[in-house]
Assembly symmetry: C2
Homo-oligomer: 621 residues x 2
């Protein structure tokens, strides 16, 4: 044991050395946050971690999630020590083009997720561990958290989730080094506070000195053999900057690299180090080639033109159908499955349904874990409540996750529940992130056709679904595609275009009928693909107009919505875009009262068309 | 005691009656969620709640926050029973124009905050309770939570905050009725799970039968005399739908009103009720007239033209200065005070500084509580991490709160830390909400001038601040206003306008210099007011151009940013707007490398100008 500990100690020195060198080379970074966790992670990697370094995506690999993403150099060094790449390359840390980003991103292929916004890693790890439980895979998931981030509520959502789902294959390592960015953490070295909290959330806990190699070894041994039915938290009391006398437990050293002189002093304190030491990772024992789960079975639906359907309900039916042939599809719910209609799925495929209860942040980051394992997670809740997880969604996007989001109850059209339940910021939220597809079907058929396209598309897709039922607009064999639109009314006499999406499509059609009675023709386009929006079709429809105008009308706040996508798509053309959308906080009322109050109902569209005609050209009467 | 209990029981029946009648009249709502909490809130209001019903803003009033906002009819009924309004008016529940919204909003003046997105009320209550502690006010704050929402991480952020700040004037009532929206909660009737969690977070706890009037009375008595230094949680085991046999503890009754026949059956079960029963609220004992805390002392700054300053640092200095004369200003921090520079403030005014640690959701909702008490909270963290609290920000906006947000480290210009730390969605996020002022000063002087305007403006204001230092652009006596801009370069020969904000102002100026050497003049405008943007000045500058073009250039994702505000502001003019912004996930690198990589540096601007000149008109060479 002593010689083993000596070997750990030597390797931990080498880990420290590279955390220090790389940050000094970069001129920035968080070396002291790496040093506090160097001992525990060295023992973990050297003795307990099973991993095929040639294949990070091997389904039998253990998983290591660095929740405290600012300790990125530690993550990089650990895998470098495991022969993932020559350690010298770490000198490119934080430099443009390097795989060694300031905080982990997918550029480093061994990172399970992008981290750096704190308190998200436990959820990602729980997602990874959940799949192992559900699919009977033997790997363990380890996650390293800092003490500062334990203040984030998401950690406790994830803790609830982990104990509720009996994830005893999940090992949570808390690096309690006392010091956060701007001062001491809430609890400093009062370790008992953390123990109480994890115990209160039904965890097994073990408290150790995070620099005592024997205690570390014992704790990890206990952890990997844990069959208690409860997840285990190792609460490690550590010293920030451990190993370098002038850094240890000192304020003012968070997020600060050593200068060259300080580095020399630090390295001389570490003493002689064998630079050739490396971890010999255990290879995962079992191996299995997985078949491609996804089969192409086109769905066939028949919707009755005489009936009305809610698009949220058709989403639920379609995803359940789709999941019969596509075994990678999971759905995640935040206790609204009877509203988003993932309830059907939950009954048919309980093994691929994940009830996250009312904890949206955890739900999104769990989906990041699922996506890492090549699942296709559909995250569904009220659109309004997806805002709860914007930071997690943002980080999932940086992670390059393949997640599908479905937000129901969009817009003022939900009616009586009032503004807190109305999704009016969701297009703006998803739209700001690069390459996010946004879809908003208006009827049953377009919904049923678009859901399979969501599943097939690699990357972020967001679908808005409606609370109220709507009439069927299309034929059962109509075709839809990402980036497409449909022209619903068109004539040679069209004076302008009304581009709508979702509920406003029906208002636009009503407006077209009313205007027609006054001898005014308008072109009505269903922009079911909000992003990318079908600028080409819009432009083509404009060609016959002398002074072309597109009115965009949407049940969303006016900034950041469909109107802005349309404006951008025709910005190099001589086309005027007039945006209609919600401009004030709404209230309770009927759907029709609220559409009128928001100025996005048929009547408002008629008035706008007439006003624009009056201002730009004589009426064709 | 028995006669008192009889009186409570009778009043609770009347409370139930109106929760049932109002939701049936509305045809929707959550009567069963009201009924589970009817007994405990009746005893609270009838015996323990001190409140001047004629003045909801009286600073000595006790506070009642309904975190489980879907029980809005209960909130309304309680205040109706306290003679706030004639109960008959409750028949307008959920109808257009009514003060009785589906979920509480400021239309009901007795609501401390808009609720309905779950898990936020404890934070609001903690904000209210904190002010009482800090300012030695005697009122108690009560908050009613549902069991479903205890899964939200924010609740545990707020729990940490409350125990850390020793808020023993805060009484948390948990209505454990077992049933959430779509099924049983995570823990059902396993009451001990909640006790363990609150105990683990350093709360005093009391478990009661939430329908036993004697137990309720004892628990509340203990609560209002609590001097333990710890907040107290009353964990009440209750029955959803309590009091009506066919509703009690039944699934399928969440968010569902009774039809007329069911209502009649329910009312007959309640039996004879004296409709004249009312609560006689205790009046708060102490009264005091508060002086106006805000005094107008113009600030004087002197910045050295030769030096560079980071706008985040000048924000910190200015807010500290401003707080000398304006005693209503509070600042709230999420453990980044040394980066946002609220650190100075924390040292000078510790009594008005609130360290929220790394828990942004709680921080924002605490600010809602402060705003309700007429404080002016400045919430400052990294812009990227404000996304963590989008739902809370959204609800704060619905609450009509007067909160100032400051997001530092915006854009790719932060450099080496990489994409997780870059605020690139913040303008889109704040911009989507109606009437939100967005400011982005580029230099020290504009920052120092705009911060006091933020404080004076009633409503939401968001300021973006920069990580890197920038040169001084303005004179110490330059003037700035919300909705304003500054023309930095202008000539009669300008071929187009470059509208920039923040860091890109300096890129635009560099571009102007470079272009000038090629004989191309451009107009450069500093849009320090992003929303409202100064469309008038932009338009005026366009007048001299034959085919006017505005290039907007911003360090923000291209959708939902400054460019979209500018486009909207000139949409009815014959002006082409070309948006330049960030279109892909960035990485680590130097500021200049990343501005170039994002295509928003001086060189990219030059190329864009030249390309546009090539495509639209011959060069004036």
């Amino acid at each position: 044991m002593n010689s083993l500990n000596n070997s750990y100690a030597e390797k931990a020195k080498l880990v420290r050395k590279w955390c220090l060198i790389s940050t000094t080379e970069a001129g920035s970074g968080h070396p002291t946050s790496c040093l506090s966790a160097a001992d525990i992670t060295t023992v973990l990697f050297d003795k307990y971690f099973s991993y095929d370094i040639s294949d990070p995506l091997d389904l039998y690999n253990d998983r290591f999630v660095l929740s405290k993403g600012h300790a990125a150099p530690l993550l990089y060094t650990l895998f470098g020590m495991a022969n993932a790449y020559p350690l010298e390359e770490l000198r490119t840390l934080r430099k443009f083009g390097s795989e060694f980003q300031g905080h982990p991103t997918p550029k480093f292929i061994y990172a399970e997720a992008a981290t750096g916004s704190l308190g998200q890693g436990l959820s990602v790890a729980a997602g990874l561990a959940l799949v192992a439980k559900r699919e009977n895979l033997p790997y363990k998931t380890f996650v390293l958290l800092g003490d500062g981030e334990l203040a984030e509520g998401q950690v406790w959502e994830a803790a609830n989730f982990s104990s509720f789902h009996s994830l005893d294959n999940l090992i949570v390592i808390c690096d309690i080094n006392r010091l956060a960015q701007s001062g001491e953490t809430m609890f400093g070295y009062d370790i008992e506070k953390y123990v109480e909290r994890f115990k209160g959330f039904d965890f097994e806990t073990t408290v150790i000195d995070g620099h005592n190699l024997g205690e570390i070894d014992q704790a990890l041994k206990k952890a990997v053999t844990n069959k208690s039915g409860k997840p285990l938290a190792i609460i490690a009391k550590t010293i920030k900057g451990k190993g370098i006398s002038f850094l240890e437990n000192k304020e003012g050293w968070h997020g600060k690299a050593l200068d060259k002189d300080e580095l020399q002093k630090a390295l001389s304190e570490l003493g002689d180090i064998n630079d050739n030491l490396r971890f010999q990772l255990k290879r995962p024992q079992q191996r299995q080639i997985f078949e491609n789960n996804s089969q192409d079975h086109p769905l066939h639906f028949h919707f009755d033109k005489e009936k009305q359907y809610a698009t949220r309900e058709i989403f639920g039916k379609t995803i359940s159908k789709l999941a019969e042939s596509n075994k990678d599809i999971y759905t995640l719910d935040g206790d609204v499955k009877n509203s988003t209609f993932t309830e059907d799925f939950s009954k048919i495929f309980p093994e691929r349904f994940v009830e996250c209860y009312i904890a949206e942040q955890n739900m999104v980051s769990v989906a990041v874990g699922l996506s890492r394992l090549d699942k296709i997670p559909f995250v569904a809740t009220f659109a309004a409540f997806l805002t709860r997880a914007f930071d997690q969604i943002r980080m999932a996007r940086i992670s390059g996750s393949n997640i599908k989001f479905v937000g129901s109850h969009v817009g003022v059209s939900i009616g009586e529940d009032g503004p807190s339940q109305m999704g009016l910021e969701d297009i703006s939220m998803f739209g700001t992130m690069p390459d996010t597809v946004i879809l908003q079907p208006a009827d049953a058929i377009s919904t049923a056709k678009l859901v399979p396209l969501m599943a097939d598309h690699k990357g972020f897709v967001y679908m808005r679904t409606l609370r109220p039922k709507t009439q069927v607009l299309y034929e059962n064999d109509s075709e839809f595609h990402i980036g497409g639109s449909n022209i619903l009314r068109e004539s040679a006499e069209d004076s302008m275009i009304v581009a709508a999406s979702g509920i406003t499509v029906f208002e636009a059609l009503k407006a077209a009928d009313e205007l027609q009675q006054n001898g005014i023709s308008i072109c009505v386009i269903d922009c079911y693909s909000v992003n990318p929006v079908d600028g080409k079709t819009l432009e083509n429809c404009c060609k016959k107009m002398e002074e072309p105008i597109i009115i965009s009308v949407e049940d969303h706040f006016v900034h950041g919505g469909l109107g802005d996508f349309i404006t951008e798509s025709v910005s190099d053309k001589d086309i005027r875009v007039v945006k209609m959308g919600v401009t004030h906080i709404s209230q309770s009322g009927t759907k029709d009262e609220l559409l009128a109050d928001a100025g996005i109902d048929a009547e408002s569209i008629c008035q706008k068309v007439k006003a624009l005609l009056g201002s730009t050209m004589p009426l064709h009467l």
